[in-house]
Amino acid sequence: MKILTTVKKVVDVELNIHVENGAILDKGLQYVINAWDENAVEAAVQLKESHKADTTLVSLGSGDNTDIIRKCYAMGIDDAIQIDDPALANADSPTFARVLQKVYEAGDYDLVITGKQAQDTDAGQAGIMLAEFLNIPCVSNVIKIEVTDDSHIQVSRLGDAGTEILDVTLPAVITVSDGINEPRLPAMRGIMMAKKKKINVMDLAGLGTSFEDVGGTAPASEIVEFMPTEKRKGGQKFEGDPAEVTAKVVDLLVNEAKVL
C-alpha cells in the first residue's frame, strides 16, 4: 500500500495575532505543523508499521518547510516532497487541491490521508475537493482506519447522528480528526536519521504544472481583508464564600442577564 499524506505549515494559534490595516502582522508569529496533519502523519506511520505501507509526505506552500518535514521524517515517514512556489503563498483550497491532484497523479498512491482542516484557515475543503477532482471515494472526519485487504479499508467517521462505519474501496482520500490517534514524539534516533534524509523540493513548474493550470490565477474567492475579532470582555468575577457568590451569580443570571 502506498500512502500520500499532506502537511501544511500554519501560524501557531497559541500566540497573539495582530491585525493592522487589513493584514496580519508578521511580527511575533511562529509557525508549526498543522495539528490535524500531524494526526494524518501518525495514521500513515501506523499503517507503515502494521501493513508495511510506503509513506510519502507532501508539503505545499511558499517558503522553507524543511523543519516540519524533518519532524515527519523523524516520526517515520519514508519520502517527502516539498512543493515550494511563491505563487502558493495565498492560494485558496481548490488551488491546493489541484496541486495535490498533480502530486497524486505523478505517483501511484492507494490512499491519501490529510488532516480534516488547517488550523490557520479552518476551511476543511482541500482533501474533500481533491477526491472530488479525482473522482475517488472520500470520507472526512475519520477517527479510525482499519485495513481489510489490499483494496479495501474500513473507517469510522464522526457524523451528526453518531459514528458511521464505512467500507471504502481504494484508492481513496481520508481526512482525519484529532480523535484518531496521539501523534508520537520522535525518538532521538529518528531525529538524527531525519537530518540526513533527502527532501524532494520542486516548484509548480517542476511538478509539470503552473499556477494558472491549477486555477490559482482565477480563484473562486479571495480574501480582501483581515479584521481583528471582536474580543469578548471578562465580566464580573466573584471570589469568596461559595454559597454567597453562587447565590449572587444565579440572581444575576436570572434578573440581569435573563438567561435562566
Binding site: N141, G162, V168, G234, Q236, F238, A247, L260
Partner: protein
C-alpha cells in the same frame, strides 16, 4: 434577484433551528428561498420547512438515505440547486454540511466558504465574513465565482419568528448510493440526551472535574437545567467524555443563550467553539484561568463546592 437554497438541518428526523435561522437571513437579504430536505423520512417535514421561511421544498426521500453518506447527499443538493437555479447554497453548521459543501461547490463550479458569519450582496458583488485561526481573526472574502456554497457558523443568524414561506413541495429523484465508500452501520448517539448544538443552555465539563465522579456531578447540573452536556478536549483525551461531546475548534461549535464552563481553563481551541454564546458563566478554582477573560460571570471556587450550590439555587428558582 438572488436565489438561495438552504439545506435542511435534520437530525434523527427532527428539523433543527439553524434551518429557520438561515432562511430568515436569506429573506432579509431579499432572496427567493427554497429548502432541500434529504433523508429517509423527510416528506412530513414540508409544512415545518415552509413555516421556517422557504417558498419551495425539494424533498429527496428514500430508505437508502437513512444513514448519512456524503456522495448521495451532495448529489441530492446539487440536483435541487440546479432545479432552483440557485445562486447560493447554504448549509447549517454540522458535520453533514462540512462533508457535503466542498463536493457541492466543485460540482456547481461555485466558491466554497465554511464557517461564515455574514453575507452581503451588493448588486453582483458578494462578500462573506468568516473567522479563521481559531477565531482569532476575521476574513472578509470576495466571491468571484457566479455561485457560492457556504456553511454558516452556529449562532451567526437569528430566526425571525414573523417570517414564513409557502408550501410548494417538489419531489426529486433519489441519487445512487456510494459504492466506493459504502455505509455499513451507524452507531447512534441518540440516547434521549439534549442535542448539544441545538440546546438553549450548554454545560461543559473540563479537567477540573478530575474523574468520573466529577463528570457525573456536572452532568447532573446539565440535567437539572435540561441543558446540552459538552466537554473540553482534555476530558475526551482522558477517555472520560465521548468525542462527539467535544466543544471547540475541532469539535462542536455552540452558541447557546447560556454557556456554563465548569472546571475548564479556556484553551484557545475551546474558546473558538463557544465564544459565540450570548452569556458565559465560568466556574474555576484558578482565578487566573483564561476562561475568565471571556466569561460574563465568573465564580472562583472549587467546582465540587460550587456545582452542588448551583444545583440548589436553580432548584429554588425553578420551584
Amino acid at each position: 434577484m438572488t436565489n438561495i437554497l438552504v439545506v435542511a438541518d435534520i437530525k434523527q428526523g427532527e428539523l433543527k433551528g439553524s434551518t429557520a435561522e438561515l432562511l430568515s437571513k436569506a429573506r432579509a437579504l431579499g432572496a427567493d428561498t427554497a429548502v432541500v430536505a434529504v433523508g429517509a423520512q423527510v416528506k412530513d417535514l414540508a409544512p415545518q420547512l415552509a413555516a421556517a421561511g422557504s417558498d419551495t421544498q425539494y424533498i429527496v426521500e428514500d430508505a437508502s438515505l437513512e444513514i448519512f453518506s456524503a456522495r448521495p447527499f451532495a448529489a441530492a443538493v446539487v440536483k435541487a440547486a440546479n432545479e432552483f437555479n440557485a445562486d447560493m447554497v447554504w448549509f447549517g453548521f454540522s458535520e453533514t454540511g462540512k462533508a457535503a459543501a466542498p463536493r457541492v461547490a466543485v460540482q456547481l463550479e461555485a466558491a466554497c466558504a465554511t464557517e461564515i458569519i455574514d453575507v452581503t450582496i451588493d448588486g453582483d458583488a458578494v462578500q462573506i465574513i468568516r473567522p479563521a485561526i481559531a477565531n482569532k481573526v476575521l476574513q472578509k472574502v470576495k466571491v468571484n465565482a457566479p455561485k457560492l456554497v457556504a456553511v454558516v457558523r452556529a449562532g451567526a443568524f437569528e430566526a425571525d419568528p414573523d417570517i414564513s414561506g409557502k408550501e410548494n413541495v417538489v419531489a426529486l429523484d433519489v441519487p445512487e448510493a456510494d459504492t466506493g465508500a459504502k455505509v455499513q452501520e451507524l452507531i447512534s448517539d441518540a440516547s434521549g440526551e439534549i442535542d448539544l448544538t441545538d440546546a438553549d443552555i450548554v454545560v461543559s465539563v473540563g479537567r477540573g472535574a478530575k474523574d468520573q465522579k466529577g463528570v457525573d456531578l456536572v452532568k447532573a447540573l446539565a440535567d437539572d437545567l435540561a441543558a446540552g452536556f459538552g466537554s473540553s478536549r482534555a476530558m475526551v483525551d482522558a477517555g472520560l467524555m465521548a468525542h462527539n461531546k467535544q466543544v471547540g475548534q475541532t469539535g462542536k461549535i455552540v452558541a447557546p443563550s447560556l454557556y456554563i464552563a465548569v472546571g475548564i481553563s479556556g484553551a484557545i481551541q475551546h474558546l473558538a467553539g463557544m465564544n459565540g454564546s450570548k452569556v458565559i458563566l465560568a466556574v474555576n478554582k484558578d482565578p487566573e484561568a483564561p476562561i475568565f477573560n471571556v466569561a460574563d460571570f465568573g465564580i472562583v471556587g472549587d467546582l465540587f463546592d460550587v456545582v452542588p450550590l448551583l444545583k440548589e439555587e436553580i432548584k429554588k428558582i425553578r420551584a
